[in-house]
Each structure stands twice: as structure tokens, then as C-alpha cells.
């Protein structure tokens, strides 16, 4: 499956193509392209204990700045799968690696998946690395407060208290084109949050917020009285790490966020 957007300004001469799953990709037209390769995010760890647990990390970011292609060329695109969030005290799962190889590339563009949150030391998920591009950035690591974000301009952002794991370049997707890509805001960290509902009175929110495109998911910490129903860490957006979840009262009712799948973005460039 490929999703094609017209380039910035609505041009169809310089499309942006999103590849969400593995495939053999044949250029639809001759030209110069920029290739963005993004590894999958790792998932967070879930727990009921008092140990500090961590979220999943973002995948790496690899970019080929310019490559001449023709319709007779072809590329093998492998898209990594995001890790599935830990449940009932389980560790997270590392994200899959995303790669692109093919005509005109001397080596495989590689964006490795982000590490998983774990209950054993070191318990943070380390950001996925990248190799063989003109730009190779490491993803943001997971923290107590959320999954890591993909880094377009440098190492990806990490979450802190009051600072969600945003992508380092935030903007509307409508501006993507001509070699420019952008992400979205990360998920919010929650700790014993409550809301009011007309039917049930005051009750707890059961899920941290999810990360947007290329951003990490928020963490959920049921830190006080605890909850006897499932709380969820926020899922990472594409390439983002999943947030951890900690329910101190009930091990059975804690599920960390999933890491986002990887992606390959191909953009045709003006001559």
C-alpha cells in the first residue's frame, strides 16, 4: 500500500509517497527523490510494583538526501513493526528495523527499531540507531513519562514531567513535500487523573494520551490508591515509543502502550 500526496502547493509533479508496509517499490516516474526511513518504536513496560519502569524508545531516522531514479529501477522496502505493549507486569518489545535497498543505493538505508521498556536494569528503552544515510539520527529514549520521539534534526526528544515527547519538527502534514517532513505532539503523562461523568461521578481516566505522527505516547502512573481496572499507557505514533503503565495496586490491570510501526517516506524533488 502506498499513500501519495501531491507535493507542497498541490503539485502532482513532485509527489510524497508513504510506504506503510514492506514491498517492492518501483518509481512511478523518473526524477530525483529524497528517502526518509524510520524504524519502529519499542513498547513500554507494565507493572504493579514500585520499581521505576520505563517506556519504549523511538525508532531511528535515516535519510538519503537525493537519488536519481527511473521507472526501470526497483527498491526492496522492509517496514519494521512496532512493539506490543507489556501487560500484567511484562516487559515491552523492541521495534522492528526499517530498511531500503535497491537501484542506485550502494548500501542499505537502515533505521533500527527502538528499544523496549524493561523491569530489569537498564530499564529504559534506548533509541533506535540509523546507518548508511546522509543523515542518521538516533531515536529518543523512553523515560518514566513517555515513549521517545523520532528525531528529524538530531537525536529524538524524550519525555519529561510537563514536557511530552514531541517530534522535534512539528507542523501540518499538508506542508510535507519537496524534502520536508514534520511530526506531531507527543502523548501526555497522567498520574491518578480523574474526570467527572454524569452517570458515574468522579472516576479515573484509564488511558494516557497517544502520540501523534513521529511522537511518543504518554505514560500512566496509578501511584496512589491504585485502580482495580485496566490502565493503559499511550501508544506511540508512527516510529514513536509506547508509554509505560504502572498500576501499583493491581498487577493484572496494567497495559503499556504499543510502539508505532515504521515507515518509509519518498519525496520527489525539483531538479
Amino acid at each position: 500500500m502506498a499513500i501519495i500526496l501531491g507535493g507542497g502547493g498541490g503539485s502532482t509533479s513532485f509527489p510524497t509517497i508513504f510506504l506503510h508496509k514492506s514491498q517492492t517499490w518501483v518509481p512511478p516516474q523518473d526524477g530525483n527523490i529524497m528517502i526518509h526511513v524510520i524504524g519502529a518504536g519499542g513498547s513500554g513496560c507494565a507493572s504493579s510494583g514500585n520499581t521505576t519502569l520505563q517506556s519504549g524508545a523511538a525508532g531511528g531516522y535515516c535519510r538519503k538526501n537525493s537519488l536519481a531514479v527511473t521507472t526501470s529501477g526497483s527498491f526492496t522496502v522492509v517496514v519494521g513493526a512496532g512493539g506490543t505493549g507489556g501487560t500484567n507486569g511484562a516487559d515491552g518489545v523492541v521495534g522492528g528495523n526499517t530498511t531500503v535497498a535497491g537501484t542506485g543505493l550502494s548500501s542499505t538505508l537502515t533505521a533500527n527499531g527502538g528499544g523496549a521498556g524493561s523491569s530489569s536494569s537498564p530499564n529504559y528503552g534506548a533509541g533506535g540507531t540509523a546507518a548508511n544515510g546522509d543523515v542518521n539520527n538516533t531515536g529518543g529514549a523512553g523515560t518514566d513519562f513517555g515513549g521517545g520521539a523520532v528525531g528529524i534534526t538530531g537525536t529524538g526528544n524524550t519525555a519529561a514531567l510537563g514536557s511530552p515527547p514531541d517530534c522535534d519538527v512539528i507542523g501540518p502534514s499538508s506542508l510535507m513535500g519537496y524534502g520536508y517532513i514534520c511530526g506531531e505532539s507527543g502523548g501526555q503523562y497522567l498520574e491518578n487523573e480523574t474526570v467527572y461523568d454524569d452517570d458515574y461521578g468522579v472516576h479515573n481516566i484509564d488511558s494516557a494520551t497517544q502520540g501523534g505522527f513521529l511522537a511518543g505516547g504518554g505514560s500512566y502512573m496509578a501511584n496512589g490508591a491504585g485502580l482495580e481496572y485496566t490502565i493503559y499507557g499511550g501508544n506511540g505514533g508512527i516510529g514513536g515509543g509506547g508509554g509505560q503503565s504502572m498500576n501499583k495496586r493491581a498487577a493484572l490491570y496494567s497495559r503499556a502502550g504499543n510502539g508505532g510501526n515504521g515507515i518509509v517516506i519518498i519525496q520527489y524533488l525539483p531538479a
Binding site: H20, K21, S22, Q23, T24, A40, S43, T76, V78, V79, G80, A81, G83, T84, G85, G86, T87, N88, A90, V93, G95, G96, N97, G113, T194, Y200, G201, V202, H203, N204, A225, L227, E228, Y229, T230, L252, Y253, S254, R255, N261, G262
Partner: protein, 100 residues
């Protein structure tokens, strides 16, 4: 679909998003992915009821501590009903109610 890609020794080297045809054409060793983290159980009616009860107690904590809180006498009765509720036959289907 997700697939685990393996080396010749059977070790998982990557997990990818792909169709079966792509995996068959490009990898020698692989398996269809299965979720290593099963979905947590849905809470039972009793668990949901206890969670609601705990929330109600938490929401009326302040009222119980302040002597001139409006309707405080009924709130105190309500809180005791909430505490007793799990041991009654009304639990978990019929919730205690706060008197006006």
C-alpha cells in the same frame, strides 16, 4: 500482517509489517507474528463496582472532613453505605444513593 524474520538458527532478527507474498519472496526463515503480550482481562462487575465505590469515597473525602459542608449528614451516611455495600446482597448491581 506482521511476521517475525529469523536467521538460520531460528533466532528472531526482525519483526516487520508485510503481506505473505512479500515475506515468502524475500526471506527464507520466518513465522507469522503472534502477540507475546495477551490482552488483559476485562474487569468483572464486582471490580467495576469497587472502582466506582472507591471513586465515590474519594470524591466525598473533603465533605466528610468539613463540619459545615452542605448535606454533610447524608454524605456521612452515604459513605458508610458505600463501605458496607460489598458485603450486602445489593452488591454489585444496586448502588447506594446519596440522600437529599
Amino acid at each position: 500482517m506482521k511476521y517475525n524474520i529469523k536467521d538460520a538458527d531460528g533466532n528472531i532478527t526482525n519483526t516487520i509489517v508485510a503481506d505473505a507474498g512479500f515475506v515468502e519472496a524475500n526471506f527464507e526463515h520466518y513465522e507469522e507474528w503472534t502477540n507475546p503480550n495477551p490482552t488483559p482481562p476485562e474487569p468483572t462487575a464486582e471490580e467495576t463496582a469497587r472502582q466506582w465505590r472507591d471513586s465515590e469515597l474519594s470524591a466525598t473525602d473533603e465533605a466528610a472532613k468539613i463540619p459545615d459542608w452542605p448535606n454533610r449528614a447524608n454524605i456521612l451516611v452515604y459513605r458508610q453505605d458505600l463501605r458496607d455495600w460489598p458485603s450486602t446482597q445489593d452488591f454489585p448491581d444496586t448502588k447506594p444513593t446519596l440522600g437529599e
